[in-house]
Symmetry: C2
Subunit: 480 residues, 2 copies
C-alpha cells in the first residue's frame, strides 16, 4: 500500500468524502455484500466493545438484567400499536420462506423489540410485586435504509435496547431520565463527546412514544447526530399487548413502559466529533491501542531496539495501558507514523538506537500543544497513564469549545438560515409541526431537542412569529 | 403460585418432560411467539454471560480479534461451496421483501458465516504477511428446525463463531485442535462437564469440512450432546471465495481455513448433565447466584434478621461471592427453599432469630454429603469461597463417575444394542457410512466421535464384521 492510498480528502473540501475514506482506511468498517450492510472490523469492533463494557455496567447498576428475545417477530404484532406500525412499516425486512417452504405468516426481523418484549411482559407480570421489571438486550436489528452510510445508517446495526415496566407513570418517566443521564455520562466520559441531552418535539418522537429524550452531538461539520434515545411509552404498548397487573388493592391496571437504546452509531459519532485531516483521533478510554510503539530498527542495533520495544510494551501493559508494538518489517517508520495517525492512536512512542542509549523514547501525542517530547523509558509506565487522562480531558475540552463556538442564539430568520449551514441555532419556536416542516423545507434544519439545561425564554417563533412554546429555546440543526 | 406448579416430573419417568419443565419453571427460557423461537430469560442469560466472558478471553488468548459480519447474506453465496449448500439449504430462512419491495436477490439469514467471512477474507488477505488471520464473532444464527427444543435446537440461537485463515495446512489443523482444547477446558472448568473430545466420522462432519472435531457430553439419560465443534475446512472455502495470498516466493496460493463454534446449547447441557428430580443443579462458576440467603422473619425479630441478612450478603459480595437475599414478603421460607432448589443454587443460607443469637447460619448445599450444617456468620465470607470450589470439584467428579459408569466397551451386537439404550458404547467400526446408517436405523445410535484419548484397538466391526477403521474404538450413542 502506497502513501497515497492512505491520504484522505480534507474535511473542509468534502466532509462526507472525508468520513467515508477515514472509516474505511482506518480499518473500522467495510461494506458487506448485501446492499446497505456493514462489516465491523476488529479495530472498529474493539471501540464498540469498550463502550459496551462500560454501558452494560451502568445499565445493570440501574437495575436491568440482560436477556435475549427472538429476532423474528410475527408480522401481525406490528399492527397492534398504530403509531408503531406506521413508523416502522416502511423499514421492515420480511422472512417469507424458511425450511424450504412458504410461511403461513411472514416473520419480520426486529427493527426494535417493543412488540415481542411487550408480549412476554404480559406473560410474566401478574402482580404489583413483579414491578418494576427491567430488561436489557444486546442485539442486532434491521431497518431497511435507502441511503445507507457506514456506522450511521445501515440496514443492520448493533445496539442495546432496554425495556422497563412500572406501576406508576412517574416512575416510568424517571426511568427515561435516568437512562438519559447514563447516555450523557457515557458519551462524555468514554467518548469525550459533550452531548446535549433534551426532549424531542412531537414530530421527532419515536413511533409509539409519548415522550422521547435524546442526546445530540455536534459533528465537526456543524451538523447534529442523534446518539441515543430514551422513550416513555405510556400505556400504549401495555394496551396493545395487554400488560396488566393486580394492584395492592386487588385492582387490574395497565403498566407504564419505557425503552431506550444506544447503537454502534456512537462509533461514527466519535469519528466525526474528533477526527481531523490526518484521520481519526480516538479518546484514550475507547482506543483499541492507547499507545503504539514504533521501533526504529535500521542499522546494527536492530535486535536491541526490538527487545527494548517489547519490554517497554510489557511494562506499559502491566500498568494497564493498551499497548501495541508495530514490528512490521516491510514498512518504514515514517509510513507507520502516518498509519497510526490515520488510525487515531493517542500516543506514539518512537524508539531508535540513539534513544535507547539515552534511556529515552520520543512521545508523540496525536493532537495538542507540545505534541512531541522525549520521556524516560524507565518512567514511561508511571507517567503515561496520567498523559492519557490529560489527553482524554483535552479532547472533551476541545469538543466542548467547538460545540459552543458553533452554537448561536438567533432571533431573526436570516441569522437562523445562516447559522444552520455551519452549526446549531438556539431559537424560539411555536411548537407547530407544520412550521417545523416549513423550516426543514427551507433550510434542511430540524429541531434536534429542547435542551434539558436550556435557560427559560419566551417570545415569538423564529419562523412564523406565533407565540413560542416550551418556555425555552430549541436547538435546530441539520442532522445525519 | 402454589407448590404444585413448581413440582417437576421425575427424570426416570420421562426425562424429556423433566427437561422441558425444569428449563421453563426455573426461569431459564420461555417460548417465543414464532414457532421454534426461544426467549432467554435473565436467569438463563446470566449463565450464558458467565460462560461467554470466560470463553471470550480464551479465544482472544488464541489470537482472535472480535468483529461483526452482516447477518443477511446473498442467496447465491451459498451455492459456491457444493457441500455447504447441500448441508444448509433445508434449514435456511429467507428474506424476500424489504423496505416495502421485493428484493432482486433474496437474502439468507446466516445459519453460519463461512461464506460472508470468506468473501471478506478474500478482500483483506493479499500477502503471506496477512496470515494467519483470526476473527471471532458473537452472534445470532437461524437454522429452521422441524423439531425445536429449548436451548438444544431452536430456529434462532446465540453462539460464537471463530474463523481463521492460514498459509499452511499444518497450522490450520493445529488451530482446530487448540480450539478443541479450549472447548474441553471451558466445559470442564466452568460447566463441570467431563466432555470427551474427538473427531467426527465422515458422515457426521460439518457441511464443507475435511475434518470436524467435537466435544461430546453425556446427559443423565445416557444420551450424548454435541456441545461444540471445530472444523478444518481445507481450501474448500478458499477456492469458493478466491482467498489467495502471495507467498514469500511471490507465488499465488490458496489459504487453509478453519472455523469453530459453541452456542447457548451449552446451557442446555448444564441442565441435563447435573439436574435432578428437584430441578437444576448449577456449577458455582456459572451460577447467577452462588449463594441465596433466606431470612426467616416470622416473629418479632424480623427487622434484625433482615438487617443481618443484608449485611451478610454485602460481606459475601465483597468476598467475590454472587449472593442474593430472597426478601419476598409474601412467600414462606419453605416455599423459597423449594424454589431455589428448583433453580439450582449451590448454597442456601437459612437465617432465623435463633441462628442470629447463636451467631450462626444454616448452610445447605444443593447436593452432596453433609448437605446441611451450621456455620459461623462471622467466618462465612472466608469459608464459603472454599466451599464453592469444593462444590464445583464434587460436581465434576460426580459427572465423571456417571459418564464412566455409563460407558461400556462392547464387542458383540446384542451388548451394543443394549448399551446404547442407557449409555455410551465404545465399539470397533468399519468406517463405512452405510454401516453407520444401518446402526442408526436399528438402534437410533450414531457415532459421536473417535475419542482423542482412545486406546489403540483393531479388530472387526461391531455391526458388519468388516475390518475396523480408525485404529481405535468409536463412541456410539443416541444423541440430542
Amino acid at each position: 500500500m502506497g502513501r497515497n492510498e492512505r491520504g484522505v480528502t480534507r474535511q473542509e473540501d468534502d466532509f462526507s468524502a472525508w468520513y467515508n475514506e477515514v472509516v474505511a482506511k482506518a480499518g473500522l468498517v467495510d461494506r458487506g455484500p448485501a446492499k446497505g450492510t456493514m462489516v465491523i472490523r476488529p479495530y472498529g469492533y474493539r471501540i464498540w466493545e469498550l463502550l459496551q463494557a462500560e454501558l452494560d455496567g451502568m445499565i445493570k447498576e440501574l437495575g436491568h438484567e440482560n436477556a435475549y428475545f427472538p429476532m423474528l417477530i410475527p408480522e401481525s404484532y406490528f399492527n397492534r400499536e398504530a403509531e408503531h406500525v406506521e413508523g416502522f412499516n416502511p423499514e421492515l425486512a420480511v422472512v417469507t420462506h424458511a425450511g424450504g417452504k412458504e410461511l403461513a405468516e411472514p416473520l419480520v426481523i426486529r427493527p426494535t423489540s417493543e412488540t415481542v418484549i411487550g408480549d412476554m411482559m404480559a406473560k410474566w407480570i401478574t402482580s404489583h410485586r413483579d414491578l418494576p421489571l427491567r430488561l436489557n438486550q444486546w442485539a442486532n436489528v434491521v431497518r431497511w435504509e435507502l441511503r445507507p452510510r457506514m456506522l450511521l445508517r445501515t440496514t443492520e446495526f448493533l445496539w442495546q435496547e432496554a425495556h422497563s415496566a412500572h406501576a406508576e407513570k412517574s416512575d416510568a418517566l424517571r426511568e427515561t431520565l435516568l437512562a438519559l443521564d447514563i447516555y450523557t455520562t457515557l458519551a462524555r466520559d468514554m467518548a469525550a463527546i459533550p452531548v446535549v441531552p433534551g426532549e424531542k418535539t412531537a414530530g421527532e418522537r419515536f413511533a409509539g412514544a409519548l415522550n422521547t429524550y435524546t442526546i445530540e452531538a455536534m459533528m465537526r461539520d456543524g451538523k447534529a447526530l442523534q446518539s441515543g434515545t430514551t422513550h416513555y411509552l405510556g400505556d400504549n404498548f401495555a394496551r396493545a399487548f395487554d400488560i396488566r397487573y393486580t394492584t395492592a388493592e386487588e385492582q387490574q391496571a395497565f403498566v407504564h413502559t419505557t425503552s431506550f437504546g444506544l447503537s454502534t452509531r456512537m462509533v461514527g459519532a466519535i469519528v466525526m466529533v474528533h477526527g481531523d485531516d490526518k484521520g481519526l483521533v480516538l479518546p484514550p478510554r475507547v482506543a483499541p491501542y492507547q499507545v503504539v510503539i514504533v521501533p526504529i530498527t535500521s542499522g546494527n542495533k536492530a535486535s536491541e531496539v526490538e527487545h527494548a520495544a517489547a519490554d517497554l510494551a510489557r511494562r506499559l501493559q502491566a500498568a494497564g495501558v493498551r499497548t501495541h508494538v508495530d514490528a512490521r518489517p516491510q514498512l518504514t517508520p515514517g509510513w507507520k507514523y502516518n498509519d497510526w495517525e490515520l488510525r487515531g492512536v493517542p500516543i506514539r512512542l518512537e524508539l531508535g538506537p540513539r534513544d535507547l542509549e539515552a534511556g529515552t523514547t520520543v512521545m508523540v501525542r496525536r493532537i495538542g500543544e507540545k505534541a512531541k517530547q522525549p520521556i524516560s523509558i524507565a518512567a514511561a509506565p508511571t507517567e503515561i497513564p496520567g498523559v492519557l487522562d490529560e489527553f482524554q480531558r483535552d479532547m472533551l475540552k476541545r469538543a466542548t469549545q467547538f460545540r459552543d463556538d458553533h452554537t448561536t442564539l438567533v432571533d431573526n430568520w436570516d441569522a437562523f438560515a445562516m447559522t444552520v449551514t455551519t452549526g446549531w441555532a438556539l431559537a424560539l419556536h411555536c411548537g407547530n409541526p407544520q412550521c417545523e416542516d416549513d423550516i426543514k423545507a427551507e433550510t434542511a434544519a430540524t429541531p434536534r431537542c429542547i435542551p434539558q439545561q436550556g435557560a427559560p425564554a419566551t417570545g415569538r417563533c423564529i419562523r412564523c412569529d406565533a407565540p413560542s412554546a416550551y418556555d425555552k429555546r430549541v436547538i435546530f440543526a441539520r442532522a445525519y
